[in-house]
Structure formats: C-alpha cells, structure tokens
C-alpha cells in the first residue's frame, strides 16, 4: 500500500497506524454499541414490533410503495433524459434568440429546490384550477430539475470535445443537424455517461421527497407502518427495513455508474482524463470537477490549438 502522500510505512509508522486503527475501531464499536444498547433498552427488538412484517398484506403494501417509487423514478428518468437532450441542443445552438432563453430556463430550473417545485405543482396549481395527482407533481418536478442538470452535463460534454471533431464533420459535407446529431452528441453522451447515471441516482433518491406531498411511495408506507399502534408503533423497525431497501437500490445504481466509469476509462476511443477522478460520485461537486477535467482535456489538446 503506497500513495503519493506517504511512504510505505516503516516500523514506527506501522505501530502508529495500528494505534490509530485501533482507536478508529473503538470509536466505531462504541457508536454501534450505543445504538444497539438504545435499540434494546427502548424495546425495538421485541417480537411485537417486528411481527408486523410477518403479514403478507404488509409486504404487499411495501411492494406497492416500492413500485410507486420505481415507476416515478423510471418515468422521471426517461423524461429527464429527453428534456436534457432538448435543452442541451438549445443551449449549444448558434442562434442567440434560442441559446440565451434556454440558458436562463436551465439556470432557473436548476436553482429551484425540487420540493418547492413539487409543492408548486401540488398545492399551487389548484389555485388556477389545475389539479394534479401527487404522482404527476413528483414526476414533473424530477424531470424539470434533473433534465436541466443533465442539459448542463451534456453541454459540458460537447464543449469538452476537440474542435476538430466539429470541423471534420462540416468538412465531409454534413449539415449542422448532422454534425450535432451524429458527431457531437454521441461523443458527449459517452464522455458524460458516469455523470448521467449518477444524476439518475439523485433522481431515485429524490422520489423520497414525494412523501412530503403525500405521494404513497416507499417512505410514506414506512411511516404508515411505523404508526400502527397494535404493533407498538414499530417506527424504528420500519425505518430499518425501508432504509435497507433504499440503500440497496441506490448502491446498485451507483455500482452501475462505477462499472461504466471503469469501462470508459479503459476505452481507447475516449481520451484518458489527465488524472483519475475520485469516486463514482453522484453529486454536483464531483460533477463540477469532472466537467472541469473534461474541459481541460479539450483545451490542452493539440487539435484545438
């Protein structure tokens, strides 16, 4: 084990590392122990609290909640991808009358918190006589937000391409439509695949916001189960079961992002980023960095000089 930051440890460093390791283990064990102690002390492991999960009806409810979560996610993911493409094409347009307004739309959609957008749809629209179901509110809000983020990612992907790609396209007689559709976007999608998938993880996580506007998704079912008095209000067991389902789902999707990233990095068709990037991350920060690196690759490339 070696890193740029430190040497392969010598005897003294090994000892010090072991002590630090033991301290870490002790702290973690203390935290786990505290949790288990409190779980036991407050009677979370009693048969009564867990017996709720022995009923088929309860599992049907959980599965229904999971299905609502997944169906909202799938529709939102497809919609966000479609909107992302449309906005990205508008954003890289040569016409200022199209580019500038689309740019503003993207900025504004990205700046509105998803929950506020959902509330706007669900509580706000009835004022002007439009009534939507919580499902529609959740899906539309997710499409608007993630679509605008994906548009930015795709645009950054296009900008990171060497200028020669576009010029070569025109040189072989393609029109603007062909250059964008056949040359720029496919490469941008490929370069941005990890960002796109991580943004989909964000969309999956954000479906849980639907619980606040009474969309009967997984978290809503968890709360419902947690309030069943005949079973001693098993809020903690329900949160443990539901939380595990959520983490499993998102970890699975994140793992796909990681695999794609690993494959992209190996692919000879894509230029290697100058430095390996941290994590398979699904957040704005790593995305910013990734885009910065992508831009950097385009800038210092011989073809664009």
């Amino acid at each position: 084990m070696s890193s740029v930051l430190y040497d392969v440890p010598g005897p003294r460093a090994v000892l010090r590392n072991r002590i630090l390791g033991i301290v870490t283990i002790l702290v973690v064990l203390a935290l786990i122990g505290l949790t288990i102690w409190r779980l036991v002390a407050t009677g979370q492991f009693t048969a009564q609290k867990w017996s709720i999960f022995s009923y088929t009806r309860i599992w049907t409810l959980l599965l229904e909640g999971l299905w609502h979560t997944l169906s909202a996610f799938i529709v939102a993911a497809i919609g966000a991808l479609a909107l992302g493409f449309i906005l990205a094409v508008g954003r890289i347009s040569d016409h200022a009358w199209l580019r500038v307004p689309v740019g503003w739309i993207v900025e504004i959609l990205r700046a509105i918190p998803v929950l506020i957008f959902m509330m706007l749809m669900y509580f706000g629209l009835p004022v002007v006589g439009v009534r939507v179901t919580p499902y529609v509110a959740v899906v539309v809000a997710l499409i608007a937000y993630n679509g605008s983020v994906l548009a930015e990612a795709l645009r950054a992907g296009v900008e990171s391409l060497p200028r020669g790609q576009k010029e070569a396209g025109y040189a072989i007689g393609l029109r603007k439509n062909g250059v964008v559709r056949l040359i720029l976007l496919p490469q941008a999608v490929r370069a941005m695949m990890p960002v796109i998938i991580s943004q989909l993880v964000v969309a999956l996580k954000d479906t849980a916001l639907g619980f606040i506007i009474t969309f009967p998704e997984l978290l809503y079912v968890i709360k419902l189960l947690g309030n069943q008095v005949p079973f001693g209000s098993p809020l903690v067991p329900a949160a443990i079961v539901g939380g595990s389902i959520y983490i499993a789902l998102c970890l699975l999707l994140s793992y796909v992002a990681y695999l794609v990233e690993k494959r992209t990095r190996r692919s000879p068709k894509l230029r290697q980023p100058p430095r390996p990037l941290a994590g398979a991350g699904g957040d704005a920060a790593t995305m910013t960095e990734r885009i910065a690196v992508q831009r950097g690759t385009g800038k210092h490339d011989a073809t664009s000089l």
Partner: protein, 227 residues
Amino acid sequence: MGGVSQLWLQAIEGTLILFFAGGAIALVLGVIVGAMRVSPVPIARAVGTVYVNWIRNTPLTLVMFFFAFCIPILLAQRFNALLPATIALGIYTATYVAETFRSGVNTVPVGQAEAARALGLTFGQVMSQVVMPQAFRSVVPPMMSVLIALLKNTTVAAGFSVLNLGSVTAYLSEHREATAGGNIFIAMFTGENQLMTLILIAAIFVVLVLLLAWLQRVLERKWRVER
C-alpha cells in the same frame, strides 16, 4: 399583517439556521471523514468509505426521517424539531464535503507531494505545507456547489415540522382569515394564494442560488491554480 410578516421572518430565520448550522456540521465532519479517506490507516479509510457510500446512497428525506422520528424514540427524549433536522442535514452534506475535499487533494500534481517528500518532510508537513494550501484553492468552487445544494436541501426540513421557507405556505394557510382580500400583494404574503406564495419562495431561492453561483465564479477566478 403583523403576524404574517413575523411568520416570513421566522421562516427565513429557520432556513438560515439550517443552512449555517448544518453547513458548519457538514464542513467539520466532512473534513474529518475526507482526511480519514486519504489517511495511511487502512481501517480509517474503510470506515470513511462505508460512511460516504452508505449515507450518499440514502435519500436525505430518509436520513431526516430517522433523525426526526427514530432518534427521539431511541433516546427517549423530545427535541425541538430544528435540532434533528440540522444534524441530519449536516451528516448528509458531510459526505459531499468529504468527497470534494478528497478530490481536491487528488487535483494536486503528484510531483508536488513527491518533491515535498524528497525534501524529507513528514506526512503532516507534506499535507499542511504543500498539499492542503493548493488543494484548498481548487476545492473552493466545488465546495460552493455543495453549499448551494445544502441551501436547496434545507426545504426538505419542511416535511418534518421545521418552520422554514419550504414550509411557509403550510403555516400561512392557517393565517388565511387575516387576509383583507382582493389585493393580490396582500394575498401573496398572507397565504390567500398558495400559487403566488410558492412562486415567491421559488424566486427567493433562484436569487439566493444565483448569488452563490456568482460568488462561486468570482472565487474560482480569484483562486484559480495555473497548472
């Protein structure tokens, strides 16, 4: 009208407390976890990785759910709703801070750390004298994106009875009878018209986020590392 403007002020105060207190927790915890992830101690690295991967793959709503409903049961104690929400925001955002911090350390060219080690500096000196000062500069802009996300995430606390900009409509609708009626501007502030109130809140967030994004660009230009 007095009670209503009071409500708006309290809502803004709630959002600001969530933003600053949550941000402070996130920064402190995030830097600790980020340092664990680049440290030479394998167990610390493993613990950091598990923390970041698990919490980051949990919806914030669920983290807040746990802190708002489960922790009071486990500790057999009642809390002011603001406290669990702030801690949840901090713990959730800390994972993003940690990743940003770590990628910042990764942007420092290998040669810098190698040169420092060739001079005989220890790990502590390499980090504090050579790597961190450079990492800090490249980390500021993405850290601002994390803070922007945190600001937007404060609205999630609205689902857990914390008064903030996200929940102001719900509270305003209770004040509905105070409205004089007719005037759309009065209606807007008293919750007569939920659509207008929500649009106003969305607009406040757009302004705040664009402000932070502008600050991000300024800092980016000011602290850009020429490589």
